[in-house]
Structures are given as C-alpha cells and as structure tokens.
C-alpha cells in the first residue's frame, strides 16, 4: 500500500488534538520544571525568580552524584535481571498449548493489578526474620536459624524485579509468538542442541526486541520510589526518593527540579547510546 504524504493544511488537522494535549500536559510542565531548576530557593517561602546554577552545582557534589550512580546501576540491574529471566520463560511459554498460555497471561495480568505498596509490604514480610522464607529453609534443614534478609540492596532488587517482570513478559510475548518456529528446528537439523539453537538463532533474530525491552524496563525501574524505601536502607534510596524528599519535605523546589531534569537527561543519553550501538551493529 502506498501512503500519500499530507498535501494541504487540512490533512494535518487530525494531529491538532494530540499535539495540543502534548503541549499542555508535557511541554508546558517540563519547561516550567526546567525554568524552576534555575531559580533560587527562598528558605522562608517557595522560590524567587533568578538564573543561577547553584542547584546543579550542589547536585554534582559527591553525595548526590553517588545516589545518581546507584539509581542508574539499580535500574540497569533490574532491566538485565528481568530480561534474563523473562526471555527464556516467555519463549518456553509460547511453546505450550494455547490454553496454558492464556492461563499464565491472565495470572501475570493479575500481578500487574497489585500496587507497588502491596508488593513492597508482601516482600518485606517474606524476607523478614520472624515470618519470612528463611523459616521455611530452617524447617527443611537448610539453615540453622531464621535471618532477616532485609533491609538490603538484594531485597530492593528482588522487589523491583518482581514488580517489573510481568511488564517484561507482556512486552516480549508478541514478538516471541510471531517467531517462526522452523528457525529453531532448522538449527537443530544442522546439529545445534536446543539450548545452543536458542542462543544463536532465536536471540539474534529478536535482538531489536530485546534492546527495546531492556530500555523499557530500565526507564520503568528508574522511576521506582516506594520499593527502595520499604525494602532498603537509606543508602539504597534512589534519586526518585530524594527528589520527592526535596520537593515535599524540604520544600526545595528548585533543587528537586534540577535533579529531575538531570535524571531525564541522563536516561535519554543512555537510551540514545543503546540505540546508537544497536544501529551500528545492525549496519555492520
């Protein structure tokens, strides 16, 4: 089918409504935030109009820089864990009969309906000393005495992976269902074991999907703000937690805005870099 380019001004009218919504609900607030990030804080009130780089300068101190680094590493870790778990799982799911696939997908959707708060408190119970899974290990004779597995960075990672996994599977599922099953069979007739065939036929054939999924989970995890507080120590708090803290409890809007702008820029840069690398490999 040949698509005609829009010719007249009237051809563009369907774009007006989404364009307007984007301006009102995204461009305007985001610009305001950028502007606020250059304002000066007024300790007695809110902020005064100004144009200073104080907020960014403060942000580049070692403490906030460390938090930014931790947040990015955590999000990358969550993204990698999710894709590594979800990719083989989703692949095996697509090999099952349709009825079983439906059951699993319905189950995953029901996990999606849980709020971050419920997931956080469920995991904090599961990982606790008094009522957690270590009691089960003691009962099975695997451990001497129950221990508390939280607060720790691993507890944060576990909770966030649990939270993001259903999204990951639902994003991977359509691509894997459409994958030609004879590709894998062809690899097997050529002497590749099933695992090997999966690694060097299915994985490269879906590389773009995998990269897109990694980016999606990364961005998703970057915004996580409750789980690090419920499951981690203060040093495991992400930038999102600090932004909230500055904006709401410290009433330092300009600084919170500066951190948010910085976070957006860094994420965009990482996403851009990933796409760039992907494109270069595709061309080569």
């Amino acid at each position: 089918m040949r698509r005609e380019r829009p010719q007249t001004f009237a051809d563009y009218t369907p774009l007006f409504f989404p364009g307007l919504m984007l301006v009102v609900f995204f461009v305007v607030p985001f610009s305001t935030m950028i502007a606020v990030s250059f304002f000066k804080r007024d300790p007695t009130g809110f902020y005064t109009r100004d144009f200073v780089f104080d907020n960014y300068a403060r942000f580049l101190s070692s403490f906030f820089g460390g938090v930014l680094g931790f947040s990015l590493l955590l999000a990358i870790g969550v993204a990698i864990c999710c894709v590594v778990i979800a990719f083989p799982f989703t692949y095996l799911l697509t090999q099952r009969p349709r009825r079983i696939q439906t059951l699993w997908l319905v189950g995953l959707l029901s996990v999606l309906s849980l709020s971050e708060v419920i997931i956080g408190f469920a995991w904090s119970t599961l990982l606790s000393r008094t009522a957690g899974i270590t009691n089960l290990f003691v009962w099975l004779g695997l451990m001497e005495a129950p221990v508390a597995l939280l607060p720790s960075v691993w507890a944060v990672l576990t909770g966030m992976v649990y939270h993001a996994l259903p999204y990951t599977i639902l994003v991977l599922y359509p691509a894997l269902v459409r994958l030609d099953p004879t590709l894998l069979e062809a690899a097997r007739t050529l002497g590749a074991s099933p695992v090997r065939a999966f690694l060097n036929v299915v994985t490269p054939a879906l590389r773009n999907t995998l990269v897109a999924t990694l980016i999606m989970v990364f961005v998703f995890a970057l915004g996580s703000y409750l789980l690090p507080q419920i499951l981690g120590r203060p040093q495991h708090w992400t930038l999102s937690v600090l932004i909230t803290d500055q904006a709401i409890y410290q009433s330092n809007m300009p600084f919170a805005a500066a951190m948010a702008v910085f976070l957006v820029l860094i994420s965009l840069a990482l996403v851009g870099l990933t796409l760039l690398i992907g494109r270069r490999e595709n061309a080569g």
Binding site: D180, T182, L183, R188, T189, L190, G191, R196, V201
Partner: protein, 345 residues
C-alpha cells in the same frame, strides 16, 4: 541394511492417528516422494524421520541403527523447510557455514566448503550477500546448500518448491533431481504436486488418511494404481464400474469387455481408464456410444467430454489424432482392455 527403514510407525495426536502403522523401506541413494492431499500425514512422517516429532509407536532405523529416540541434532541429516527457515541475521555464507561452525570447523575449512556448495547450487560469489536481498529461487538454493553442508546421510525436504512460480518450480525439480543423482544421497521429499513427484522420484509413496496407499516407481503408480484413491490422485482418470452380467462376463456399461475379468468372489469392482487411452470412434464402432457434451481444445491436447448414461468419460487426444467431433454429436467410445486397470474397491 543400508538405507532407511520405517517399521510400523504410528503417530497419534489425542485420538487422531496422523500416521497409522506405516511400513516403508528406502534403499540407500533412493529419491522418495511422499505424495498426498493435505492432512494425509506426509509431513508428520517426514518430521518423525527428522526427529522433530517422536513416534507414538514403531521404530525408525537408519543404516542398521535405531534412531527413533536420537535427538535431531545428532542424526546427521539435512532438511529444507517449507518456509526455508534461513537465518535472517546471517549472510548467505554464514547461513551455509552454520552447521560447520557448530562442529568447530576452522574459518578456512568453512570458507572452502561454502564456496564449493555455492558453486554446486550455481550461486558462486553470493557468499557475502544478506539473505533478505535474494530472490525466491536463490533463497531456495541457499536452503539446499545449507542442508547439504555436512554431507548428511539423509536429505529431507518439506514442500520445498511450493513458494516458487510454476516455471521456476519445474526447472528446480529437474535441478534437484540432477543434484541428488550427482551426490547419490538418500532423499525424501514431501509434496502434494503429482507432477513434481513424477519428475523427481525413484519411488513415489502415495499417502491418504495416515496410511500408505501405494509405494512404487512413478510409471507403475501411473499405469497400475492400486486403488481408486491412488488412481484419482495421480493424474486424471475415468473411474468406471466393472460388473458381472448374468453369464458371468465382465462388463462396463453392460457391454462385455474382452480380456478383462473381475477379481475372485466379486460381482463388481472399480476400473480406471486414463483419458489418453480412451479413443473416440464412429458410432457403433466403440465399446459403447455416447453424446459429446464439450470439447476443450488446449492447443497441445484436445479433451473431449462424452456423456454415457449419467457418467462423463473424458478422452484426451493430440492434435495429430484429432477426433473431428462437435458438442451434441453421437460418437463411439473405445475402452481398450489393455488400458483398463481393475482396482481394489
């Protein structure tokens, strides 16, 4: 025994028997075509030989070794899929070299073998092309070269030419047959195209409803079909009824046919007469008279449709022996006894 033996193989899906107690011996170096309508179990049988399906019962023996439970990747076979299943992320050369890479062959070995195979399928110099940039026929050749990379014992093809246009398909049939003879490799092709089977095969295996209806060389399948299913599936035919009259003679349309006899203990049986064996004669000079209902002149051949009772008999003639008849005319139809094949009912 050298070759492939399929011993009483069955495959059921739930209560449905896709392949039903199939027995087939394929001597080494034979070109076999599994032929049948869709859903007859031919693809399932091929996939069991490849190890992509596990038989519910029976055994598959290759060169004296029972391979029924051997996983696909240890069977040493080459397979061409209907979708071709070329790896989209690899170049032509890397596709063909895939099996060699798995075996740990050196780069130089891989390159030498790839060049040799590409030459064999007339695609010399295509090694670095991306698969997506090839035409249908070229992709077909790449799939064949890839399957033959390890000089396998068995070469399996699942409706390999169905995606090509008619002209190219006919050319590829001849090429595939020549390649098989040159390599002397045991080859099994699944097809629903009887022309394809006739062109390529040493042994045509006609399947229907999960069973083998007849396994024989192409000409025998055509000249001596075992039953009405085979006769009808291979080429076109006139299926008539042979019945005994009160004197016990074999008759068609009530007219005795000298030289034909009914199978023992039966009073009626189907009989097949190929259209090219039916002759149009002057009224009264044939086996029986009928009315011409339609004449289809295709240039190369002329088909005459003759109505006898409530049966239409088709006669095919070449322009040289052109029967000069028109629709509505009464003619005689001659059914030579030597061309009538009495079938199992």
């Amino acid at each position: 025994m050298s070759g492939l033996s399929i011993n009483d193989v069955t495959k059921t899906f739930g209560s449905f028997a896709a392949v039903d107690h199939v027995q087939l011996d394929v001597p080494h170096g034979t070109f076999v075509c599994l032929l049948g309508p869709s859903g007859c179990g031919k693809t399932t049988l091929l996939r069991m030989i490849a190890g992509l399906e596990v038989p519910t019962g029976g055994a598959i023996v290759l060169d004296g070794q029972d391979i029924t439970q051997v996983p696909t990747h240890k069977r040493n076979l080459g397979m061409v899929f209907q979708s071709l299943a070329l790896f989209p992320h690899l170049s032509v050369g890397d596709n063909i070299a895939y099996a060699l890479r798995i075996r740990g062959a050196s780069k130089a070995e891989q390159k030498a073998r790839v060049d040799e195979l590409l030459k064999m399928v007339h695609l010399g110099g295509f090694s670095d092309r991306p698969v997506a940039k090839l035409s249908g026929g070229q992709r077909q050749r790449v799939a064949i070269a890839r399957a033959l990379a390890l000089s396998p014992k068995l070469f399996l093809l699942d409706e390999p030419l169905s995606a090509l246009d008619a002209k190219l398909r006919e050319a590829m049939q001849v090429e595939l047959r020549q390649l098989q003879q040159q390599l002397g490799i045991t080859t099994i092709v699944v097809t629903h195209d009887q022309r394809e089977a006739m062109t390529m095969a040493d042994l045509v295996v006609v399947m229907g409803e999960g069973k083998i209806r007849q396994a024989a060389p192409p000409v025998e399948i055509y000249r001596r079909p075992a039953d009405s299913f085979v006769a009808d599936f291979i080429g076109s035919t006139n299926l008539l009824e042979l019945a005994a009259d009160s004197a016990g003679r074999a008759t068609i349309f009530g007219q005795p046919v000298a030289g034909l006899s009914l199978p023992d203990g039966l009073s009626r049986a189907p009989v097949s007469v190929r259209p090219e064996d039916v002759q149009i004669t002057a009224p009264g000079h044939g086996t029986i008279d009928g009315t011409v209902t339609f004449v289809r002149d295709l240039g190369g051949t002329i088909e005459t449709f003759v109505q006898v009772g409530d049966t239409t008999i088709i006669a095919v003639a070449t322009p040289r022996e052109r029967p000069d008849v028109k629709a509505g005319q009464t003619v005689g139809v001659s059914l030579p006894a030597g061309s009538c094949v009495v079938l199992k009912s």
